[in-house]
Amino acid sequence: MGSSKAELTWHGQPFADRIARLLIRATGGPLIVVTAPEQEPPPLPAQATVVTDAHEGRGPLEAIAAGLRALSADAVAYVCSTDVPLLHPALAEHVLASADTETDIAVCETDGRLHPLAAAYRARTLPEIEALLAEGQRRPIALFDRVPTRVLNRSALLANEAVARLDGSLESLANLNAPADYERAHALELPLIAVERFGLLRSEGSESSTRTHERAATLGGLAKAAGIELDGHVVAALNGEQVTTDAALPLVAGDRVSFLTADGGG
């Protein structure tokens, strides 16, 4: 691609920042970002913890080990690369939920190809990973034969109602490896977001109905599309949960954003 994938942008938002924020949405955190030794971390949200590979050049298995070492022993982590800006939190949530107590790894598979960087790993697999690394293994697939692993093929992924509805073509798994991939990702329609306005914002809005729809990749983009200025007098709530003024908040298909005046209460 000619530059670090993590620094590439999708509709103005760096890949790593977008993916990190989406994973925080999906999991509630903590969020671990693994970089190569001496690699400058890309722009990331404040909640991210950055760790580095213990050894350079030992591939994704080393990176997974570095990330799992930063988590508690009973954690289960969704692991992905930084070139999947079309990730939908619903898919990450489904994969994580598939890693039940009997399963150490839940990994996606499409068209017969496993996606070890679209998978949930239990931190208790760390000893096996360390052993594989000691044997010189670099590929995560080698781990799947050693620990209880559940493969989630296309139909298993789409069996989840939210994944089927919100990411039916499984764009969450689309790695942008080549310029053509990048161009295709940018050519896709932006996510369709439901917009609600309350109070004065409703009377100022162009639509009189309670809910309208706009396409946007971030909250800032949505506000602009909706003709709302995200100044100190306006806040937004994502899917009826957290209130925010963060213009960089990534949005995905199916999101609902409520705009309200900042002086709630009283």
Binding site: S203, A237, N239, V243, T245, D263, G265, G266
Partner: protein, 602 residues
């Protein structure tokens, strides 16, 4: 020869004590006391500490009812025409300070007193009159039974239009524990102050101005007033001007912070029909302002019979979603009846909603009382206002009703310290959850504005922790100052550096060289004084708590996620709150804290 201390500008330095049995007298309020407590709620709390006998029955003759004014009242500063009414609450047994607005504040202060204490009791219905001639008691038999508004009008006809009147309605006469005291249609609403006055057989208090009071720097006051007026026209107050506080309802519904059916839910399917957005589109409305106010937050809607009612978020929440009622005509009518009877709408709605749930569960023998039944809501209000039938029990408030019913009723009675919860769901506003739990007055949204932090986007409103505690303390301190100055909280968004700017306003009127730091200490002193009063009246740490329902039942958000407020989280926040307030683990002030605020003798 007694020495007379010169009062600071903005004050008369005078306390008027009216003993309804033994006569009245004036005494001096020292400049230091005024500086330490400013006025309004702060001064009223300190006077309550000094004048209420320990353990006094709030409905006994010995219990004082205190009107306090403030240094800013009577200046051209916008929203400053406010007064506080302070007493021991017959509902909670705790300190109760309620605010009210408009001409009574100005006329009351210009009687020449910074505070008026009323104690004792009259043998029959009485109006207390304070004017240039002093204090007199006039018979008020013909006013008894009237609404506060009617009594006010009749008394002004008798005395003259320069008199301003605070009065109680039928609920106050019948000692409903959440009866209001009102002036010009606005209520000192919470905690049952109307019952305190009613227990003294006082239907009304009339005041007429007879004195003037200078400001230290009148030119500066006018300059600041001009600036503040301009700011009051800006975006920070637009919500109040354009839609009023009812603008909260639909937004709160979307955020699952709208308590519904006695806190069983946090969103209401009928919210749209009750919203300001819809009501303001479908109905004619008028706007009104308090005296000296440039915001004009009052939105007045017609009821079905053509009369008018002021509509606020809290009365619509309490009489609408809280009771499961979605018909706006019923909710407006219910609000109007509460106004006429002199009932606090929050406590009325909360108590009725609780009774509806008790009835549905078979804990209360009232088959007619069901969630969503508008006729039942209106009947319950009417019965409470005159203590008829079931209303005699419900007039006691949800805490006492739960104690009377027994079984598990206390677990879902919607109160803190006996005061019914306002329209802020604690499970989805967890800074506010702490504010509601520890507030000395009980569950109250005016003495703790912690919801501001929850709705700012700066905190995770669903997961309370140390940052939420800091926010709760800060908003409680700000409220203590605003309510003592006194200014309207709807102006709060117009101040970029509130404490600093408030110190400047106070300095211009009083001439005090007062800093932001001193005002912050004053805020802590006021909050501490309230806690000390409660402590003397039997408060324990167990009273700083929330209803069991809030701590044991999750709320499902519109996203499907569940919001919970586990006990241990609330305990942790309360522990940290105590530490920040200089209290020990039982919530008692340490000697160092008392000394730092000049309260060591208490």
């Amino acid at each position: 020869m007694a020495s007379v201390t010169l009062a600071p500008p903005g004050y008369f330095g005078s306390l008027l004590e009216i003993d309804l049995t033994q006569g009245s007298r004036s005494s001096e309020l020292s400049p230091q006391l005024l500086r330490d407590y400013v006025g309004g709620c702060g001064l009223g709390t300190r006077l309550l500490l000094d004048h209420a006998p320990a353990g006094v029955d709030p409905l006994s003759p010995e219990a004082p009812l205190i009107f306090t004014f403030s240094p800013l009242v009577g200046t051209p500063l916008t929203t400053s025409a406010k007064f506080a009414v302070v007493a021991k609450s017959p509902l909670s047994g705790c300190v109760n300070d309620a605010m009210c607005s408009s001409h009574f504040a100005i006329a009351g202060k210009l009687t020449g007193h910074d505070a008026i204490v009323i104690r004792g009791a009259c043998s029959g219905p009485t109006a207390v009159v304070v004017d240039g001639a002093g204090v007199r008691l006039e018979p008020a038999d013909e006013l008894w039974g009237l609404s506060a508004a009617e009594a006010e009008a009749r008394l002004r006809e008798r005395l003259g239009s320069r008199y301003r009147v605070g009065a109680i309605g039928p609920a106050g006469e019948r000692l409903v524990r959440y009866a209001t005291l009102s002036h010009d249609g606005r209520h000192a609403g919470r905690g049952g102050l109307g019952a305190v006055l009613g227990a003294k057989n006082v239907k009304a208090v009339a005041v007429a101005p007879s004195r003037k009071v200078p400001s230290a720097d009148p030119h500066r006051v006018i300059e600041l007033a001009r600036e503040l007026r301009e700011r009051s026209f800006g975006a920070a107050t637009a919500k109040y001007r354009e839609l009023g506080t009812l603008a909260n309802l639909l937004a709160f519904n979307a955020l699952s912070t709208l308590p519904t059916r006695n806190f069983k839910d946090a969103s209401f399917e009928g919210a749209e029909a009750l919203s300001a957005e819809q009501l303001s589109t479908l109905r004619e409305r008028t706007r009104a302002s308090c005296a000296s106010c440039t915001i004009g937050c009052e939105h007045i809607y017609p009821t079905r019979d053509g009369s008018n009612v002021r509509v606020e978020y809290e009365n619509v929440f309490a009489l609408g979603p809280m009771c499961g009622v979605a018909d706006p005509d019923i909710v407006l009518e219910a609000s109007k009846r509460c106004d006429e009877l002199g009932l606090d709408t929050i406590s009325a709605g909360g108590t009725i909603a609780f009774a509806m749930e008790c009835a549905e569960r078979g804990l209360l023998s009232a088959s007619w009382l069901r969630f969503g039944d508008g006729a039942a809501l209106l009947r319950a209000i009417d019965e409470i206002g005159v203590r008829r039938g079931l209303g005699d029990l419900l007039a006691e408030g949800s805490k006492r009703v739960a104690e009377e019913i027994g079984e598990d009723a206390a677990t879902f009675a919607p109160h803190v310290k006996g005061l019914e919860l306002p329209g802020y769901e604690p499970r989805t506003l967890q800074s506010m959850a702490l504010g509601l739990a520890v507030n000395p007055r009980g569950a109250d949204h005016n003495r703790s504005g912690a919801y501001e932090a929850d709705l700012s986007g700066d905190l995770d409103r669903l997961d309370g922790g140390p940052a939420h505690v800091a926010a709760a303390v800060e908003t409680e301190d700000r409220a203590a100052i605003v309510d003592s100055l006194i200014l309207c909280k709807f102006l709060r968004g117009a101040f970029a550096e509130p404490m600093h700017e408030w110190a400047g306003l106070l300095a211009s009127v009083t001439g005090w060289d007062i800093s932001e730091a001193e005002l912050e200490t004053t805020a802590r002193r006021v909050v501490l004084a309230k806690r000390l009063f409660n402590l003397r009246e039997g408060w324990t740490r167990a009273d700083d708590w929330l209803p069991e329902r809030v701590l044991s039942e999750p709320i499902t958000l519109s996203s499907g996620r569940e919001a919970t407020l586990p006990r241990e989280r609330l305990v942790g926040m309360i522990d940290e709150y105590y530490e920040r307030r200089g209290l020990d683990s039982d919530g008692l002030p340490t000697p160092a804290t008392l000394a730092a605020h000049g309260l060591e003798t208490h």
